[in-house]
Subunit: 481 residues, 2 copies
């Protein structure tokens, strides 16, 4: 999907809207509801694993970023910096009151590690206070130069997890646990295929020891980072003196992790699942599962409308237990054709049409958005089970289709000339070997704009795509959004 | 409750915590969950009345506030103003990059009228697009000089509703609708008594034509504004040119309202319901409804623990359907006495104790936090109904107690000398007549620090408490937090 088509689709389906400030967007109800559904699902999983929700301040004093110098490297060129607190009113216009200059600048959180560990050290005394499993659902600001709705917003909504553990093993276990949870969310709920692996030192979160990431691919061969998990080791605990007393009564630094997913997932979902007709929303996160449209000629209206209403009522009742959300659009002023067009564009998974023919034969017409196909379904007691079955099939089919496309655009390449050609003409995921040298990584980036998305494995031996040196590091290259 | 006790209670019960920046606080899981419960309840009501959730940007360009000049009067001295976007790193420290100065300052939203109506005018064409019923759940920043956890946070979480209507009548109806919803929330869910009325011109939201407010009283005789509803008339639609085409094909300005409640409600709840033992959380918003504590002597432990676990399991299962949240604290390392102390302080509505005696006699001991009293309850099939009954009684009793206190501290006074004495020595709500003059209002404020909380009615005639002039305006005076 090209950029223009992507933007148009988002505006037309009322997922989001422009604001006057570059990079800031308005989430309209349909888009926000998708985010709320993602939030609800992930939050439930995180509560099960004993993570707790907190809310830490939006503004962070500059001095905290000075303490953990590495941490800010990713963000210091894209901060929203608060410097003053008062206006004067001059000729009915606001003018900054220079006397209100802050002694220390405040930064709108680009991420919250520093404020969280600077605070939480006061809560951690003994090993009994660990693990500390913090999560928060908040807005963050990173004033990136290039913007793209959902994929690169200057302000976005996200979930940021921050945990403290007694030792390395427990921190590593936490990372495995979060990996599983994110796989569940991304694969099973958003139907998005991905590659998972470790970032290179160049590409990792600068405050982390290691960063793991989930990477996916769009139709136009570009990569999207879906989620990241950071193993922070003792980087932050040493900087902020977050210590606990162990069983032997000795002071030790805690081990930290942090991890997050954001509203970017909505952008990825749109990029990956949409087709020529518009959005395709995976049922598990769709604000509406079924749109029901009555079809009656005007002259038969009074004869059939009551019967249709009755069927709709029954269906709604039957499916309410299964939390299936149904919208019944019986607006007479809009033609069925226009309704079809609208809801197909919105990506509602199932459309049900009921008219004279359907009533007479006691069936309904079902349209599957993902396959763009119609089916006939007998109206009987098992209708709810059948519909739920179809929704599950849609969920899986969307994933299968996306995975197929991803595989089709994934290439194993050993020759740098072919690599270059492929990256420039086609894009996609390119699996190659790399000699673990930063210089090689940067040369490839300079020549092709491709970066290493993540390291896949270190099992077999091969030759570096650029230098030809022997190496066991297999990586995925790609161009990022 | 004095300030120190209030703060201590919040810190000790882990409702919230200090941050390093004045006026910014950390919501810990117990406090945040109370807010999430309030949000869940109110959101459900607002969805029923067809309000939709949006998310508008955190940052607002200064020029938008210049357009509706009146609107900013309330906030221009307490704005978080973003002026720069980049740092330089000098000797491993962050220094503002002066080259990154913004052409136009951005303000962290103190409220969102201007950005919402500046955007939404593009969505409103015809009368068919109205009413537009917008709500958002967001963080806002107002850097107030005086801070008090929850009651005056520099950053707080809130819900802000913004609506557009065809005519005055519909806007007034919206206000009535929201009034009902807020009464339901404040009275029935938070068990907080209140006085409702119109603000004076001095006290209203400066962007509004009228402001209505819910006011309550704390034990120490001070007033808290719980919620406000603003009738904006055409103030914003004229400023931002929000127009629609009516049925006669003529352009007209829309009529607007806005309204909000915030995390201040948590502060009010703490102030109003707490007693010497600690918090008392109304069941409808309590994160935990029942704390179960087993009591067994060590030597009988293995004999009874299984039986107790079984009873707890049954109770949990029975009450799950009714969404009653139970916590079972079977930690052997803490004495029952310490547990009592902890959960009473946290304000958990019901404590259930099960020990040898209870098992033998097939009953449980129930403790009601609101009455500080114990009861015996037979363990039979109706136990869940009985417990739900008790929770409902607690909910009502908390309200009754609070209302009694409010009435006890509400005085009808006609003599300014007595008025002054009362305000200074005692505080409370003072019902008096006022001559509708701003000068009178300000003189009283200067002399007593009391402001008019709201206008109660304009039915009977009386004499102004200050000037003695004849007037029909009865108001409530009080000192605010």
């Amino acid at each position: 999907m090209n950029n223009k088509k992507y933007k148009n689709l988002i505006i037309k389906t009322k997922i989001a809207f422009y604001s006057k400030i570059k990079g800031f967007f308005i989430f309209r109800p349909y888009g926000l509801k998708i985010w709320e559904n993602i939030k609800y699902i992930l939050n439930k999983m995180l509560i099960k694993t004993k993570h707790k929700n907190y809310y830490f301040p939006l503004l962070i004093p500059k001095s905290l970023f000075n303490i953990e110098y590495n941490n800010i490297k990713n963000f210091y060129k894209e901060c929203a910096i608060v410097t003053h607190t008062r206006f004067l009113i001059k000729k009915k216009k606001l003018v900054i009151d220079q006397k209100s200059k802050l002694n220390e600048e405040l930064i709108i959180r680009p991420t919250s590690e520093v404020i969280i560990w600077d605070t939480c050290k006061e809560w951690i005394q003994s090993y009994k206070d660990l693990p500390l499993l913090i999560n928060q659902w908040v807005n963050v600001v990173r004033l990136e130069m290039k913007n793209k709705m959902f994929l690169r917003n200057s302000e976005f909504l996200w979930q940021e997890g921050h945990t403290a553990h007694k030792n390395k093993k427990e921190a590593i276990n936490e990372i495995k646990k979060i990996k599983k949870i994110y796989i569940n969310l991304i694969k099973k709920k958003l139907s998005i295929p991905f590659i998972y692996g470790k970032k290179t030192n160049t590409e990792k979160f600068s405050g982390a020891k290691f960063t793991y990431s989930f990477e996916t691919l769009t139709n136009n061969g570009k990569c999207i980072q879906l989620a990241t998990i950071h193993f922070l080791a003792k980087n932050f605990s040493k900087a902020f003196k977050v210590m606990y007393t162990n069983k032997e009564n000795k002071k030790e630094y805690v081990w930290n992790t942090s991890w997050g997913i954001s509203t970017r997932l909505i952008g990825a979902m749109i990029m990956i699942h949409s087709d020529n007709k518009g959005l395709i929303i995976p049922p598990k996160i769709s604000p509406i599962h079924i749109i029901i449209i009555p079809i009656i000629k005007k002259k038969y209206y009074y004869k059939y409308i009551k019967k249709i209403n009755k069927i709709v009522k029954k269906l709604k009742k039957k499916l309410k237990k299964n939390k299936i959300k149904i919208k019944y659009d019986n607006n007479l002023n809009i033609t069925p054709g226009n309704k079809y067009f609208k809801y197909e564009k919105m990506g509602i998974p199932i459309r049900i049409v009921i008219g004279k023919k359907e009533i007479k034969n006691n069936f309904i017409e079902i349209y599957r958005r993902d396959k763009d196909k119609k089916y006939i379904l007998k109206l009987n007691n098992k209708i709810n089970i059948k519909i739920i079955n179809i929704l599950n099939k849609i969920q899986k089919n969307i994933y299968k289709k996306a995975k197929k496309k991803m595989i089709k655009n994934t290439f194993i390449i050993n020759d740098y000339k072919i690599f270059k050609k492929k990256i420039i003409n086609n894009g996609g995921f390119i699996l190659s070997y790399w000699d673990n040298k930063k210089s090689t990584e940067l040369k490839i980036k300079n020549e092709t704009k491709a970066t290493i998305r993540c390291i896949i494995n270190k099992k077999k031996n091969g030759k570096c795509i650029y230098t030809g040196k022997k190496t066991n590091t297999k990586v995925v290259f790609g161009k990022s959004y």
